[in-house]
């Protein structure tokens, strides 16, 4: 699988990841190399194998429905880039 600079730009947009225009080609090359490595997976037949998402065969644990958290807005917003009136601010959202 070879990716073009155009493919890289599309994926980068999906990931909202800024990439300098002059680097696009080298990302395309590196990513193509990675996909070539990954393509080795197709050398083996896995038709009857169940996918494995977790290393341990365990069930999700459940938490009792209790309120355990208290307000820490000041602490959390002290590290935020831009806040006002308790809100996180972002450039205008258009719907």
């Amino acid at each position: 699988m070879t990716l073009t600079a155009d493919d890289v730009n599309k994926i980068a947009y999906l990931a909202r990841l800024g990439i300098d225009a002059q680097d696009t080609e080298s990302y395309a090359r590196d990513l193509s190399g990675m996909l070539e490595l990954v393509a080795q997976m197709s050398t083996i037949d896995t038709d009857n194998v169940a996918p494995m998402a977790h290393p341990l065969d365990q069930a999700q644990r459940l938490r009792p429905d209790q309120v355990t958290e208290t307000c820490q807005r000041e602490v959390f917003q002290a590290i935020a880039p831009q806040v006002e009136a308790g809100l996180f601010l972002v450039p205008k959202v258009i719907e």
Binding site: L3, D7, V8, I11, A12, Y13, L14, A15, R16, L17, G18, I19, D20, D23, Y27, D30, L31, G33, M34, L35, L37, V38, A39, Q40, M41, S42, T43, I44, T46, V49, A50, P51, M52, A53, H54, P55, L56, Q58, Q60, R61, R63, Q72, V75, F76, A78, I79, A80, P81, Q82, F88, V90, P91, K92, V93
Partner: protein
């Protein structure tokens, strides 16, 4: 004093041979003196002195937790309340964590004194510590070589005796490989043994923490503090934590050691092969039995890893968006500009490569061919290990195909760097515990022996490692410039 192990220091502190304050100040002085190693991102001098004083007060009362007054440092991937937690990235250069990771809480409860935060590959993505926003770390054994990664700062600091022990994390070899390259002892616990809460996620189904120390005995002490069930981590396992120190001296007579033939193929450097064989011979002398095992799917571990880990990281790192914390670009023109530039500026090239590959692998039309396929291969690899571990007690092999390589040597070709993780990655896929222990030198560069055990068999690994360290002194060697 700086060559002493945690076990020795804890004893000395409790016997009143020296105070925690003295210890702390002496290590802080060494950290300052060897600043150019670049193993620390943040040194928390004032906090360390304050908690050393507290530890001394506690020591005076007697009957204190095991690690009281012992200095340690954390990989900068563990959130530390009120202290910068950068994860080696510009993205989090301004991130002062508002809470402690469970691991950090546990070390605090055990009385350890934290001296600071250790350098690492950006978001734990790398095998040489060269992707850190804070610059590469030198290998104490040869300043022009890499310490390995991603826990490169942890490994270098322990090897240079700037700190007696450190925490690390391992997603594809990030504890074991730097431990091997720096000549120290490193243990990656069974997935679910050490809480991941507050440990900034790279690949959630592979990440696992563990100790990095001079000796296996110390690793047992640190793991004792780190391990245990955490209700805040759904993947944490609720099973009893054994005493990791009591079995260290068990005899290895009759121990069955598996050697996967795939570990010793042509790709392995011949000097490395010889070192591993020599180490295995020592075990034979101790009465162990050697059995050849096979891991037919091992070669697919790296391809599958480079789907699973990037896929998980592509989502894990989406929260770094410049809205609630972390780097925000100047004067965003609109919402997308805010995202694209904040993330574009905040992440380095290796992180971007992995986010892009992960995004691609999960995107419409490719999911089955990449992600599902990789998960199927993960099961095959895991089954290989399960079968082997039915025949043997532990599996041994190399950690890395070569000793430490030169700084800059592999940065131009990311793929070449990835391939060097062939012996470590598969273990994360299976979720098994594994260690790296010092097992010799090649051209004055340390070599690591890998010991892999069954699920939750950390005590067995530590026993096997400790016995080797009773008859060898590789782990006691200190790099000349740090003597």
């Amino acid at each position: 004093m700086y060559t002493k192990t945690i076990a020795q220091l804890a004893k000395g502190l409790q016997a009143g041979e020296y105070s925690s304050l003295e210890l702390t100040q002496s290590y802080l002085a060494r950290i300052k003196q060897h600043h150019s190693l670049n193993s620390f991102i943040t040194v928390t001098e004032d906090l360390a002195i304050a908690s050393a004083k507290q530890a001394d007060a506690m020591l005076a009362t007697g009957n204190v937790p095991l690690l009281t007054g012992v200095p340690i440092a954390h990989k900068d991937i563990f959130c530390t309340q009120g202290i910068k937690t950068s994860c080696g990235s510009k993205m989090l250069d301004n991130f002062i964590a508002p809470y402690n990771a469970t691991v950090v809480e546990k070390f605090n409860a055990a009385g350890a004194v934290t001296l600071g935060k250790l350098n690492m590959d950006e978001f734990a993505m790398g095998s040489s510590n060269e992707t850190s926003f804070y610059g590469n770390v030198q290998n104490p054994w040869a300043a022009n070589t890499v310490p390995g990664g991603s826990s490169g700062g942890s490994a270098a600091a322990v090897a240079a005796r700037l700190i007696p022990g450190a925490t690390g994390t391992d997603t594809g070899g990030s504890i074991r490989q730097p431990a091997a390259l720096c000549g120290i002892t490193g243990l990656k616990a069974t997935y679910g043994r050490v809480s991941r809460y507050g440990m900034i996620a790279y690949a959630s189904s592979l990440d696992q923490g563990g100790p990095m120390t001079q000796t296996a005995e110390d690793a047992a002490l640190m793991l004792q503090a780190m391990a245990g069930f955490d209700p805040k981590d759904s993947t944490s396992v609720d099973c009893e934590v054994p005493d990791y120190s009591t079995g260290l001296n068990n005899s290895l007579v009759g121990l069955k050691i598996g050697l996967p033939k795939e570990f010793f193929d042509a790709a392995l450097n011949s000097d490395m092969a010889a070192s591993i064989e020599a180490a295995v011979n020592e075990y034979k002398k101790m009465g162990a039995e050697i059995i050849e095992v096979s891991m037919p799917n091992l070669k697919l571990a790296i391809p599958a890893y480079y789907v699973i880990a990037p896929a998980e990281c592509s989502a894990n790192l989406s929260r770094m968006d410049g809205v609630r914390f972390g780097h925000r670009c100047a004067n965003p023109a609109n919402l997308n500009d805010l995202y694209i530039r904040s993330r574009g500026e905040g992440f380095g090239a290796e992180v971007k490569r992995r986010i892009l590959v992960g995004t691609y692998a999960l995107s419409e039309g490719y999911y089955d061919a990449y992600y599902i396929k990789a998960q199927k291969i993960r099961r095959l690899i895991s089954d290989d290990f399960k079968q082997a571990l039915e025949q043997v007690d532990v599996i041994m092999g190399p950690v890395s195909p070569t000793p430490a390589f030169g700084i800059g040597e592999k940065t131009s070709d990311p793929i070449e760097m990835y391939l060097a993780d062939i012996y470590t990655i598969a273990i994360n896929m299976a979720g098994l515990p594994a260690m790296s222990i010092p097992a010799g030198f090649i051209d004055n560069k340390p070599v690591g022996l890998q010991i892999i055990g069954n699920y939750f068999a950390e005590a067995k690994l530590l026993n096997v490692a400790h016995q080797y360290q009773q008859i060898t002194d590789w782990h006691q060697q200190t790099p000349t410039s740090f003597e």
